[in-house]
């Protein structure tokens, strides 16, 4: 027994120390931090991009590289992980407003574009954007726009076209809304044709009034549950990203999609190198590799979002693949070229951000806790206190004799 126990302890410590120094031998490690489900990873017969990169480094450049790929669920998760200084990454892929914020806080490192020749293929519309005006920090990866997804069996055609569908009383209990403040406020502000980057508190106040009025009509505030709810028809209307609409349409062809006429949100997710990166050159090599035509196509087909890569958009196989999903896939994904009015989310200043968050709290808390819950909880706590007091005194009384 003693020996077995000792063996266990020794083997565990060995395992710990081995795993601690395993990565240190000659092999280079590239730490990539990306959104979940945001790269072609070899599932469902797709190309495993990270493995391809390792092969490319070994066969073409004679380097042993291992890609250490981890994922996050939101820009804020990624930001906090980096900001806490607890982990270092070589490549991250945040959205535009987060890039703006990270540049302002010196968290990104300028790129050497002579190592990224494939940058020439990026569409000019995605160069010199507001978050990186001189193109020093970021290389666009995907982009997309928010639109409204509806079930054509449950929604009448004459109601379509505008954001007001989300406030339409006819569809009470069948409407979904974003469960994050920025996107939810966005729907109300775009509807009012104001700017989503406004610093005027009145804009945010009127938006929260609209959201409060909408609340009784809403089935629930959701993020990824939207997929199942729309696919199986348990909700009729939801705002979400165009690329994800195509995924939903793949399992339910009753679903329709349009961009609201008042204007909508456009986002760009771009590859950046954090200031703490340990291997900048390798990171730039990886970014360049992601822009190789074949790789970019594999990613665009897997993710289903629009690609800012000009060769992808013109590739016939890619177009055929997307049209196999949905006849109008290309028109929907790449609608920015046509007449849809769009506005980016910019990084909000602290005052506006805290106003937005506090208004969001009031919206979410309002009516959520009904008085009878307070009353029941109060009664239970009171009864417990009385019971303890009673048993305490009974005990003392008994001990007395």
């Amino acid at each position: 027994m003693k020996k077995v126990l000792l063996l266990w302890v020794v083997s565990v410590f060995l395992a710990v120390s081995l795993s601690g120094c395993g990565g240190q031998s000659e092999k280079l490690t590239l730490n990539v931090y990306n959104w979940g489900e945001y790269i072609s990873d070899g599932s469902e017969d797709s190309l495993d991009v990270n493995e391809e990169f390792e092969n490319y480094c070994r066969d073409e450049l004679g380097m042993e590289v291992s890609v250490n790929y981890t994922t996050y669920a939101s820009n804020e998760d990624m930001y906090n992980k980096l900001k806490s200084g607890s982990a270092t990454y070589d490549v991250v892929i945040p959205s535009e407003y987060m890039i703006e914020k990270m540049i302002a806080e010196d968290m990104l490192s300028p790129l050497d574009f002579s190592n990224i020749p494939n940058y020439q293929y990026i569409d000019d519309n995605f160069k010199n954007l507001f978050f990186d005006p001189d193109n020093t920090y970021s290389v666009p990866y995907t982009y997309g726009m928010v639109g409204i997804i509806y079930n054509s069996e449950m929604v009448a055609e004459e109601d379509l076209g505008s954001w007001d569908l989300l406030w339409n009383e006819t569809y009470k209990g069948q409407i979904l809304q974003f469960n994050n403040p920025r996107d939810a406020f966005g729907t109300a502000i775009y509807w009012a044709k104001d700017s989503v980057n406004s610093t005027d508190p009145a804009v945010w106040q009127s938006a929260v009034e609209k959201l409060k009025a909408q609340k009784p009509l809403i089935q629930s505030y959701v993020m990824d549950e939207i997929f199942n709810k729309m696919k199986n028809g348990s909700a009729a209307i939801a705002p979400y990203y165009a690329g994800d609409y195509l995924t939903m349409y793949d399992s339910n062809d009753l679903l329709g999609f349009y961009y609201p006429e008042e204007g909508t949100n456009v986002f760009v997710d771009a590859m950046c190198v954090p200031a703490c990166a340990k291997n900048q050159e390798l990171a730039e090599l990886y970014i360049n590799f992601m822009l190789e035509k074949e790789i970019a196509i594999a990613n665009a087909e897997y993710i289903g979002y629009a690609s800012p890569h000009t060769l992808v958009r013109e590739d016939e196989d890619y177009i055929a693949y997307m049209q196999d999903w949905h006849d109008d896939a290309m028109e929907i994904l790449y609608a920015q070229d046509s007449a849809v009015k769009t506005e980016y989310y910019e990084s909000l200043d602290t005052d506006t951000l805290s106003l937005q968050n506090s208004l969001w709290e009031t919206l979410k808390i309002e009516n959520a806790v009904e008085p009878w819950i307070y009353m029941t909880a109060g009664t239970i706590v009171g009864a417990l206190i009385l019971f303890f007091l009673y048993s305490y005194f009974v005990k003392r009384y008994r001990n007395h004799y």
């Binding site: 027994m1 003693k2 126990l5 266990w8 302890v9 565990v12 395992a15 710990v16 795993s19 601690g20 990565g23 490690t29 730490n31 931090y33 959104w35 979940g36 489900e37 945001y38 990873d41 070899g42 599932s43 469902e44 495993d48 493995e51 250490n68 790929y69 981890t70 994922t71 996050y72 669920a73 939101s74 998760d77 806490s84 200084g85 607890s86 982990a87 270092t88 990454y89 993020m223 990824d224 997929f227 199942n228 696919k231 199986n232 028809g233 348990s234 994800d244 995924t247 399992s251 339910n252 340990k278």
Partner: protein, 268 residues
Amino acid sequence: MKALSRIYTALIFIILYIPIVVLMLFSFNSTANTGDLTGLSLYWYRELFSSPDTFNALKNTLVLAVSASVISTVIGTAAAVGLCKFKKNFFKNSVLSVTNIPMMNPDIVTGISMMLLFVFLGTLLGRDEKLGFTTLLIAHVTFCLPYVILSVRPKILTMPRSLPEAAQDLGCTPLQSFFKVELPQILPGVISGFILAFTLSLDDFVISYFTTGNDFQTLPLLIYSMTKKEVKPDIYALSTLMILTVTVLLILSNVSSKEKSTERRLTL
């Protein structure tokens, strides 16, 4: 009355197990639809075995859970044995309440404070990577420890003190008497403590979220990161496999302990 109690029991079991049954059912679905079964197939199981990320996360989770539960079982058992040998009640009780703090503390407080400590120490020691497998392991051992102590202690308290004393009278060294007499007596408590620690470590999200570094993603962290897009049914398949494994293990351990207890009765 009897029928009523049976219905009640059945109802409780149905409510407990229906989510798992539904999950297993949909892991055999032929499309990614939840809501309607479009046909039975092993498609998602094939998908699961061809996706390296999920498998890597599963491997990480298992390595972490096994090492964390082994270490915390060893430390926890030693702590429980030591605690019972304390003479002064005051010391015993204060040490017990201190070890219970990680259990009572909200996970988020434990997680953030651990992260701060590790980052602070890492900066002090000038390390590049402040968080990683080692810090994650320390955090997991910390929150598993009180549960092990809690399940081992009652076994020691109910064990007759005369047993180890008799062993030592008959010539055992204290260490021998511990391994030959005490440990077999408290083994059920040690094993249940181990299982508890294992499951706790397996599904911890909050503490892992704060204390993991850039190279070690566990399964709960991976699944959470999928929630902006869709959680794919290969995760259902993975969960089904995990549930089946756990069930088989439980049945095996029950069967073996039953055999042992009948054996013992016969020898007595």
